[in-house]
Each structure stands twice: as C-alpha cells, then as structure tokens.
C-alpha cells in the first residue's frame, strides 16, 4: 500500500499545484498587456537595469543577451571558487578548488546541471555555497524560464521574443524567489539545518569524536530542487539526513523537483493560447513519466542480487537508500530527478538494480519528460518538430507547426539540436571506455563500469547532474570533458530552438482546415510519443544493451 501511496502523493500534489502555478507564471512572465498592475514592476526593472532592458528583442539579440549574462555567471563563479580561501564566510578555512575542478563546477552550475565532482561539505566555504552556487541555482534556472517564455512568445507568432534582462528578473524575483522562500520555510519547520556556524563537534556515546558538517542548508535545498539544479549542499545530496531529514521533506522535495517543469507546460499553453496542445504535451510527458515510475518502483522492489545465497530477509534493494523516506521513494525520485534534469538524488543510483538504473539513463537520454526548468519543453519542441515533419507528410501536406510551415531551415536547426545530445553521450563514452581516462576511474567491474561512464556523460549532456557516483570523476580529463559538454549541452539546445521559433514566427500563418494535421489531439500525442521513443531507442539501444541490460542478464 505504502509503495503506491508515496508516488501517488508526490505526483498528485505536483499535478495539482502545477496548474495554478502555470497560470501564475503566465501572469508573472508574460503580462497580458500594458496597463495591468505589473507595469510598475517593468518600470523599476528598467530603472535598475538600464535602457538595454527596455526593448523587446529579436531571437538573435535575445540569445546574445542571454550568452552575455551567462558568461558573466561563469566567470564570477570560477573566480569565487578559486579564491574562496580569501573570501568571508569560511569558518572551516576551505582552500581553493583545483582549476579543472573549478572550471567543471562553474560550468556545471552555470548550465543548470549541478554535476558535482567535489563534495560540498569537504571543499566549499559557505560563501562559495551561497554567493557562487546558490546564486547560480537561481539565475541558471531563471535563464531556462526566460528561454521558454521567449520560445512561447515566438510560437504565439511574435517575431520579437521579449527582453532577456526583464525576463530573467521576472523569473528570479517573481517566480523562483517566492517559491524558494515558501519551500525553505517549510524545510526549516521540518527540521532542516539553517546556520552559518561551522561544524559541530560531538563526543559519541562510545567516546569517539564526530565532526558534524552543517550550514545554511534549508535555503540552499529549496532552490536546488525548485530550479531543477540538483547540486547538493552535502556530497551525497538528498540522501543526507541534513538535506532531507524526514518523510515529509522527501515528499516536498520531490514535488519541488517536478513542480516548475510541469507548470512550464501550462504557461506555454497560455502564452501561445493553445492550452489543448499544451495538454497533449503534458499528457505525453506524464504518460512516459508514470511508466518510468511504475517500472522503477517494480524493479527496485526486487532484492539486490548481491545477497543471493546469504541469510538475508527478502526485501527490496536497500543498498544506497535511506529508510525514513519509505520503500518507493527512491525509485520515484530517481525517475523524477532524471526526467526533469534535476539531478539530486535520495538514493545512490550506482547501487540501483541494473534495470532500474536504465530508467534514469533513459530519462536523461530522452531529456523531455518534463525536463529541466524551461529547457525540458524546449527539448520536446525538437521532437515535436520532427514528429510534425513526418506526420505532416503522411497526411499529404507540407508539414506545419502551430500554423507555420516547417521547411528546410527549421529541420536543419532541429537536427543540430537533435544530433548534439547523442554526439556528446556516444562520443564521450567511446573515448572514455576505450582509454584509461575512463577505465581507471571505475568503481565497479564489467557492464556496470561501462554504465558508470555512460551515466556520467548522459548526465552532463542532459544537464542533469546526478551520477553513478562511484566513478572517480574528479580528474582533469573528466572535469574538462564533462565541463565542455555541459556548456554545449546547455546552449545548443536553447539557441537552436529559439532560432527555429524566430524563423517560424517570420512566416505567414496558414489557416487551419480539415486537411491540417492537428497537434492538439490524442493521435498527435501518440505520434509524438512514438517519435520520442523510436528516436531515443535508435540512438541509445546499443548503450542500453551493453550497459544495464547486459548487467541484468549476467545475473543468473
């Protein structure tokens, strides 16, 4: 019973909250028109940010502004991480990060990935946590929300996509900040630490000394989950009792993972005035998500193969899991966090049963099941364009999406985005599987070792940030390669779709007729799901077969 209640509670709450939040985000991000109460906000924003924040931008200007601010984010954080020994709020006197690790970390948090090759409580000062990483957790998520807002405006038919600086300010202060505050308050009430004092020292009952790392965890965790960041305050992320103390913090955290990615779909539907289409997209995502959760829960309820033949009571696989979250909490979270590109964990994915481990990987390979804040929907657009192209031809018309014709230019851009993701995963895996760069850093033998490499590159390319954490990934080759992949995997899938939308918005709308292939029907949902699954399968079936599936089959 409890096995079903946990995912049901989490998913139902998320769906129920996503609808009103989508409505709110539409209001916050894309005010219906001048003369509303929101006007004063705009005036203040322009006053603070200067004239550049005033005018709406064409897709190229929008992307340039986005890149300019993101470059600043990256540079600032790199500097903070390499000089934290001289900065304040460092009660434990942490030293600077090694340059390749600092590069990786700055890239990781700038790209909303939060892949962590460091361990928070070991390496970072409170200043680095709050001013570098937590700041990026806000603004990188806000970049995603800004991008999807711009995309929605373009698909609504406007060639001017809005102003990036205003969008980012809105996303940060009107969307993320209020939500993070609510979540942080709840977390504090549920017993999560929130302090600037250094580690506590305890004398255990057996007389040993235990140094207890702590910090401003509650504030950090709230935005970490809401912004699909996922970078933990502590090394083992949300398995750590300070980062996830109770059953209820776990439920709330899991809801926070799903909330904004779900709400974004509704915001998109409202901005484009196509709620039915948004509903179909939501349905496709939800169906995939529910299948994944069900499979993961079922597979993970099997005992681990490691205990075969040992006098152990039959139970689900508990290696790497915490007891206080309940039985299916780990599987539900594992799927949620990879479907949404959050990347926080409440159980160690490396220790999941082999086939369960395939599901988080699949989530990252597809990267569209709700996906990262903002970018999940943007990724899905690539599949939508591909599905529309094939299906449109099959009904005998030049394919069109939301009344705009999909032609050579759009397909070229879509393919660039479609190609980049598997290129990073397959290419990276190929290089590291065949060289000591990868093989010498593995924590497990055989197929599972390969899975560790696949997982790491999938996580970087999908801007996820979770890991098969046994991998000894704090090496220069890992830091540099995944750092670059995270940055490319962030910006190519944002810029290419914005270019597509810019190109579509410049075209004349074709009126919808009975011969038009509709994108707000169940049939389109089926086609889209088929496109996602087939393309996903064709790209990653060999990896799945050689990694998790081969490992599962080796258990006899």
């Amino acid at each position: 019973m409890l096995e079903v209640i946990i995912p049901a509670l989490i998913i139902a709450t998320s769906i129920a909250l996503a609808w009103p939040l989508g409505r709110y985000m539409r209001w916050a991000m894309d005010p219906a028109g001048p003369g509303t109460g929101r006007l004063s906000f705009e005036r203040v924003a322009v006053g603070v940010l200067g004239p550049k924040a005033e005018h709406t931008q064409h897709w190229k200007r929008y992307c340039l502004s986005m890149l300019s601010f993101n470059l600043l984010m990256f540079v600032f954080v790199y500097l903070v991480l390499t000089t934290q020994q001289w900065l304040p709020l460092n009660p434990e006197n942490k030293g600077p990060l090694e340059p390749s690790l600092a590069f990786n970390t700055a890239a990781s948090f700038t790209s909303n990935t939060n892949l962590q090759h460091y361990s928070g409580e070991v390496s970072l000062s409170y200043f680095s946590q709050l001013f570098a990483l937590m700041w990026l957790q806000f603004v990188s998520a806000a970049t995603g929300i800004a991008a999807v807002t711009a995309l929605s405006r373009g698909l609504a038919g406007h060639a001017q996509l809005g102003n990036f600086y205003q969008d980012l300010t809105r996303a940060t202060t009107l969307v993320l900040l209020p939500l993070a505050t609510i979540w942080a308050v709840l977390m504090v009430l549920l017993g999560m630490p929130m302090t600037l004092e250094g580690a506590a020292v305890a004398t255990t009952l057996e007389g040993a000394t235990q140094t207890i790392a702590r910090g401003p965890v509650a504030a950090f965790v709230a935005i970490k989950q809401l912004g699909t960041n996922g970078g933990g305050f502590f090394g083992p992320n949300s398995t750590h009792p300070f980062e996830n103390p109770t059953f209820w913090t776990n439920v709330l955290s899991n809801v926070a993972i799903l909330l904004i990615p779900m709400a974004t779909v509704w915001m998109f539907g409202r901005i484009t005035h196509r709620l039915r289409h948004a509903g179909v997209l939501f349905g496709v995502m939800l169906t995939l998500y529910l299948c994944f959760v069900a499979c993961a829960s079922l597979l993970e309820s099997q005992p681990t193969a490691a205990f075969d033949g040992l006098p152990v009571a039959s139970a689900m696989n508990l290696e790497g899991k915490e007891l206080r979250f309940g039985p299916t909490a780990g599987a539900t979270w594992a799927v949620s966090t990879t479907a949404t590109s959050n990347g926080s964990v409440n159980a160690m994915h490396d220790s999941l049963n082999p086939l369960t481990g395939l599901l988080p990987m699949a989530g990252m390979w597809l990267n569209v099941v709700f996906g990262g804040v903002g970018v999940g929907l943007i990724n899905l657009l690539i599949f939508v364009i591909t599905a529309v192209f094939l299906a449109g031809m099959m009904v005998g018309r030049t394919p069109e999406y939301l009344t705009r014709k999909v032609e050579t230019k759009e397909m070229k851009l879509a393919l660039i985005a479609l190609l980049a993701h598997p290129l990073f995963i397959l290419g990276g895996t190929a290089v590291f599987a065949a060289t000591p760069w990868g093989t010498e850093t593995l924590n497990n033998p055989g197929s599972h070792g390969l899975s560790e490499i696949i997982y790491e590159f999938s996580s970087a390319a999908a801007n996820n940030g979770s890991g098969f954490e046994g991998l000894g990934d704090n090496t220069v080759p890992w830091n540099v390669s995944t750092g670059l992949i995270m940055l490319l995997g962030r910006f190519i899938p944002i810029i290419a779709p914005l270019a597509i939308v810019g190109s579509l918005a410049a075209k004349r709308a074709t009126p919808e007729t009975a011969g038009t292939f509709r994108t707000d029907t169940l049939l389109f949902g089926v086609v889209l799901m088929g496109a996602v699954l087939i393309v996903g399968a064709l790209l990653f079936l060999p990896l799945a077969m050689l990694g998790p599936i081969a490992e599962q089959l080796s258990i006899r």
Binding site: F389, V395, G396, T403, T408, M411, A430, T513, I534, L538
Partner: protein, 694 residues
C-alpha cells in the same frame, strides 16, 4: 468547355485514365544497365544516404579483397556482405532508373510528334509570300503559314484563319479541335497537325523551349529539381545518416571496453542497415513517379514545386459555367404578366428566339414546342427582321412590321418598354426577383410597350458535383465559385451545388483581388482558367491550371496545363500532390521503424562472444552471428525493390480527414515497419540456413 463529370469523378479515387502495367520488360532491362552507370560517385553524392552506403560498400570490398589475399578466416562472410551492400546501392539506382524509364516511354511517343518539319515562313505579311525553312530556325515573332495536312512547326498564336487541328499527339484525344484567331482558342502547339483550311501563326517559343520540349523534359525527369519538401526531407535523412554514423563509429571503441574488436564489414553492415536506405533509395523515384502520374492524368506541370504546392492547396476557385453547372441554361417555365395568356407569351418568346442560335435560345423554342406545340414558322414570309444580341443593346428579338418583340434582362427590357411609354408591371418585377433568387436567369419578353411575361432560364447543376465538393471539404479544401451572375443568382446556385463561397459579378480584377486576399490570410489558392483575361489571376494563384484549349497567355501564366481542358481536374492534381508527400512520409517512417529489428539482429550477434548473456536479446533466434548480420543486410537490400511499386504508384490518398489518413498510414507503415523486418529477417535467416550458407 464540355465535360463529363462521371468519368472525372471516378478519376479521383482510381489511377487516371488507362492504367498501364507498372513495368514492362522493355523498361526494366535498360534500367538495369542505367543503374550500374549511376554508381558514379559524383552523381551519388546528391543523395547523402546512398552515397554513404556506396562508400561503405567500397570500404567493405577493400577489406574483403585484403582478407581473401591474406587467406584469413571469414572472407566468405566478408564477400557476402560486400556483394549485398553493392546490391543495396544498385537497387536504389534501379528504382530511380525504372521511374525514369516509365517517363521515357511516355516521352518517346511525344518525341515522334517533334520530327523536324519544314516551316513556311511568311516573308511579307501583305502578300503572304513564304519561304521554306527548317522548323528549328524559327524564332519568337516569326509568322508561319500552315495548310491542311501539315504539321504546325512551333508553338504560337493564330493570327489569321480558322482550322480544325488534330492535337492527339499531345492530348491523346482523337477528335479534332477548332483553332481560330482572336478569342480564347488561338493557341496552337508545335507538333500538332492542321486537318482543314489553313492558319497563319505567330511563333511564340524558341525551338527547344516549346511546350512539347518542356513536356518531354518534365516527364523524363531530366530537368528535375528537388522540390522544397524534398530538400527538407533530404536534410532530415542526412541528419539520420549522421546520427547512425555516430552510433556505429562509437560502437567500435565501446566494444574495445569488452575486448571485442568489431571487423569493418560488420560495422559497415550495421551502418548501412541503420541509415534510412529504403527511403533514400526511393526518394527520387517518388518524385519522378508523381510527375508521371500527373501526366497520365493529362496534366503537364511546369515544375515539381507546383505539384507539391497542389497538395497544400486549401482554396479552390472554380468557374461556374462548365465546371459547376452545365455550360448552358435552359428555359423551364413561362410566367406571363397579368392579363397575358401563357400561350401568348410562349408564342412571342418563340418568335424572338427563332433566330437565336445560342443554347438558351434553342431551349426556349424547345419549351414552347413541348408545352404548347408551337412549331417553327417560316419567318421570311412574314418579312421578319431579326435583331441580334449585342453587348450594347443586350436584347435580341424580331421585328414583324410594326410588331417589335424583344427578350432580354429585366432592366434593359424595362428601359425598352418605358421608352415607348409602356408600363413594367409589378407582378413581372416580382417574378424576375423570385427567379433570380432561385438561381435562375429571368428573361423578360416584351411586345412593343407591353410586357408579356418572364421566361425562367435555369442553370443546371451537374450531377455528382455536390458529392465532390463534400469530398473536398473533407480534404480541408474550401471551394469558391466564380461567376458573372448577379449575387442573388450566384447565391442560389452556390447553395444548390454546395460550394463554400462564391464571387458574383466577377471581373478579372475582382478575381485577382480575391486570390490576393486569400493569400494574405495564408491560404494556398488553386484555380483554372482559359481566357487571356484569366492570365493575371493565373499568374497570382499558387497552383494555376490552364486549359489546353485556352490562349497562349493563359498557358504561359499557369504552372500547369490540362491537356483535356477539364476544370474539375484540379481535384486530381491536388490528390497527386498529396500522394507524393504521403508516399515520402510513409516510406521514411517505414525505413526508420525498420531499424529496431535490425538492432536486435546485429547487436547481440556482435557481442555474443564477449557477453554471452546477450543471447537472450536474440529474440528472433537467428542461427549464428554471421547469419544474423547477413540476414539483416539482405533484408535491408531486398526491401528496396519490393517497395518500388509503392513508390511509383504512390500511397493511396483518400479524401478523409487528416487524422484518419495519419492513423492508417501509421498503422501500415509505422507499426508494419516495426514488425515486418522481424519476420523478414527471420525468414531470410531460415533460407540461409536451409541453403547451407550459415
């Protein structure tokens, strides 16, 4: 513009006209040779998918040769892979060659018409003095004289004379047609034959650019340029190819992780199986066959782009007369004015129409005879003087001494009567109005100052046309009727015929403006036309089908010419356009869906030794790793020739909604594409085992 609706209606569902057998040996044999010549890498590079396949085949051959030279194990397997890879490429070339050969057979008959003829060039227009020159020396603007029995040397416009012309060489229609100077029947086509009389023609095309030349080029596919959608699809296929290139090249180092070294032929085999060779091989054939289907329907498209656009058309402008209604209106009723006997009216109407040779006039005579048995009279005896219809008076009739009988539109007759201080009765005004409202044409008959009554001329809507419009509506196409009638009449006929909208009192300007307005709203507009005054609208429309009987100006302005001059042919054109896109989409889906099975055949085969547990994934239970890989390659190759008929005939289009079409195609080509290769590969494997090759 007479037409037979029933044959045209049946043409929509079924292939047009006579269905030739798809292939004949005469086509296939040269196509096989042609397919070999097409191995030329320069020409292959236009098609990225097959180019990669060819490179792979070449690479595999090199490896095979070196394996045979060194006598290493497995060279037989390598050889088999090489042979089948080359066959894959050859099948692709063959598909294109066959499609072209079918066009060429059609073109050959046209070419016969283009034998070099001697032209009589007019040197002096006044005396019609001629000199004989080869037709190839004629240039734009030359005048030529063509007499009975001679072949018209070039495309042109009749500037003098009337003649019957045999155009069967291009239309296939044996009945001769009339060509005369001025008006809408002035265009003649080079290669057709004058049967009677003689014509003086102004040449309008340079040799080599004539209608016939363009037609041959289009059919043969010689000047085939990729259409926009074809370009987009080629890009997508190239993208897929790149993706699989990536998958396969990375598999090599990943296999090294398990200490497996994948040999090159196997890797290439996997690659060629995965890249969308099926659609890549058939893409060109689909385009060529689409054009050929159009020409079988006796429509010549001037570009592939226009055919593709036809699939997107969502507004259809149709002329009322000849398309929606039978060309002529018929008298169906006499409505006398108050105090007038119906017979009296019929008698006067008949008198006024005796000399009227128009179908309407004749129908009045017929009606008078049927209803009152009024017979024709010898009018000469009564000193009758006929008044013909002119554009100025807009009345016709007869003068019998003092007696002036007139028939015409209500407003002119009213003026005629009132000029003679007569009165126009209210009852007649009412009748005129009701008839017009019902879609008929009222003709008022007057004798001197007295109005006798009204003749009801009825427009007869063609049988079956309503069903066709319903079909069009299901296809998502809006029909607009164009007519010179007044709005009331137009509305009534529009309602009866079931069109969605109409343009009444249409002028060329109004037509042009209507098209522009639809285009501004984002619609794609198709229309048919024949007259010179249709030319601007034809030029503006996205798909413009000019009637072959029409003027040269109309034919120049349109992007298609209908040799049968059948305006409802537009509907067939739309179907062909849709079919072309559907066939591409369906075969692409099929091609991509195939890959899943191929993975299940090849991946376990490659890794069986290092990871024996993967045997479970060999769900087809293929005999050995080599037979598994070979079966997949053979399936991938053989499926190409198997699908050539689908590519050439096209996926069937039915006028159902977009969703129903998609569901059907997804089921057949998507789900089918997923399942069929599992069966096919297993069967091929069984055969391989059976013949002892595995």
């Amino acid at each position: 513009m007479q037409l037979d609706v029933s044959t045209s209606a049946s043409a929509a569902g079924k292939p047009f006209r006579k269905e030739r057998s798809l292939f004949t040996a005469r086509m296939l044999v040269p196509a096989m040779g042609q397919a070999v010549r097409m191995f030329d890498p320069w020409s292959m590079a236009r098609n990225p998918v097959m180019f990669i396949a060819e490179l792979g085949a070449a690479l595999t051959t090199l490896v095979t040769v070196s394996a045979i030279a060194t006598g290493s194990d497995g060279s037989g397997y390598f050889l088999a892979i090489s042979v089948w890879l080359w066959l894959t490429v050859w099948f692709a070339n063959f598909a294109e060659a066959v499609a072209e050969a079918r066009g060429r057979a059609q073109a050959a008959s046209l070419r016969k018409a283009r034998q070099d003829v001697t032209a009589h060039r007019v040197v002096d227009q006044a005396t019609l003095q001629v000199e004989d020159v080869p037709a190839s020396q004629l240039t734009n603007g030359n005048l030529v004289r063509v007499s009975a029995g001679e072949t018209i040397p070039a495309d042109g416009e009749v500037i003098e004379g009337v003649a019957s012309v045999d155009e069967s060489a291009i239309t296939g229609e044996s009945a001769p047609v009339i060509r005369e100077s001025g008006g809408d029947r002035s265009a003649v086509t080079g290669g057709t034959r004058v049967l009677s009389d003689h014509l003086v023609i102004r040449v309008t095309a340079k040799p080599g650019e004539s209608f016939l030349d363009r037609m041959i080029a289009m059919i043969e596919g010689a000047e085939r340029q990729k259409t926009p959608n074809e370009v987009a699809l080629t890009i997508v296929l190239a993208g897929f190819t790149l993706i699989f290139l990536m998958v396969c090249t990375t598999l090599y180092p990943i296999a090294r992780y398990f200490d497996v070294t994948i040999d090159v032929p196997t890797l290439v085999a996997l690659l060629v199986c995965l890249i969308p060779t099926t659609i890549g091989a058939l893409l060109a054939a689909i385009g060529i066959a689409g054009m050929a289907r159009l020409s079988q329907a006796n429509v010549m498209a001037m570009s592939g782009r226009a055919v593709e656009a036809a699939g997107d058309v969502d507004v259809l402008l149709l002329d009322k007369t000849g398309t929606i209604t039978l060309g002529n209106r018929q008298a169906t009723e006499f409505r006398p004015a108050p105090g007038v006997e119906e017979r009296q009216l019929a008698d006067a109407a008949q008198l006024a129409s005796l000399a009227d040779e128009t179908p309407e006039g004749r129908s009045i005579v017929v009606l008078a005879k049927e209803q009152f048995n009024i017979r024709g009279r010898k009018l000469e005896e009564q000193q009758a003087e006929f008044v013909n219809f002119t554009a100025r008076t807009r009345m016709s009739g007869v003068n019998l001494g003092e007696q002036q009988i007139r028939k015409g539109a209500a407003d002119v007759v009213r003026r005629f009567v009132e000029e003679q201080r007569g009165e126009f009765p209210n009852q007649v005004v009412h009748d005129v109005d009701t008839i017009a409202r019902a879609g008929g044409t009222p003709l008022v008959v007057a004798e001197n100052a007295r109005v006798l009554g009204t003749i009801y001329l009825k427009d007869i809507v063609k049988g079956g046309i309503k069903e066709r419009f319903i079909e069009l509506r299901r296809m998502g196409i809006k029909t607009v009727m164009i007519t010179g009638d007044n709005p009331k009449t137009a509305a009534a006929i529009a309602a009866e015929a079931g069109v969605d909208d109409f343009l009444a009192e249409a002028t060329p300007e109004a037509k042009l403006e209507l098209i522009r307005q639809y285009q501004r709203e984002g619609h794609l507009v198709a229309m048919t036309g024949d007259g010179t005054n249709d030319a601007p609208a034809l030029a503006q429309a996205d798909v413009a089908v000019a009637m072959n009987t029409g003027t040269q100006a109309a034919k120049e302005a349109g992007n298609m010419v209908d040799l049968d001059s059948n305006p409802t042919k537009l509907i067939d054109v739309v179907s062909v356009g849709k079919q072309m896109l559907m066939t591409r989409g369906a075969l692409t889906t099929f091609s991509v869906a195939n890959d899943v099975a191929k993975y299940f055949a090849i991946i376990p085969a490659i890794f069986m030794v290092a990871l024996p547990q993967l045997e479970v994934l060999n769900i087809m239970h293929l005999a050995t790793p080599h037979s598994a890989i070979l079966s997949a390659v053979i399936f991938n190759a053989v499926v190409i020739p198997c699908l050539i008929p689908v590519a050439i005939r096209g996926v069937r289009y039915r006028a159902v909604g977009a969703d129903a079409l998609l569901r059907r195609n997804l089921l057949i080509y998507g789900l089918g594409g997923l399942i069929i290769p599992f069966v096919g590969i297993k069967l091929i494997d069984l055969v391989l085992v059976g013949v002892g090759l595995a």
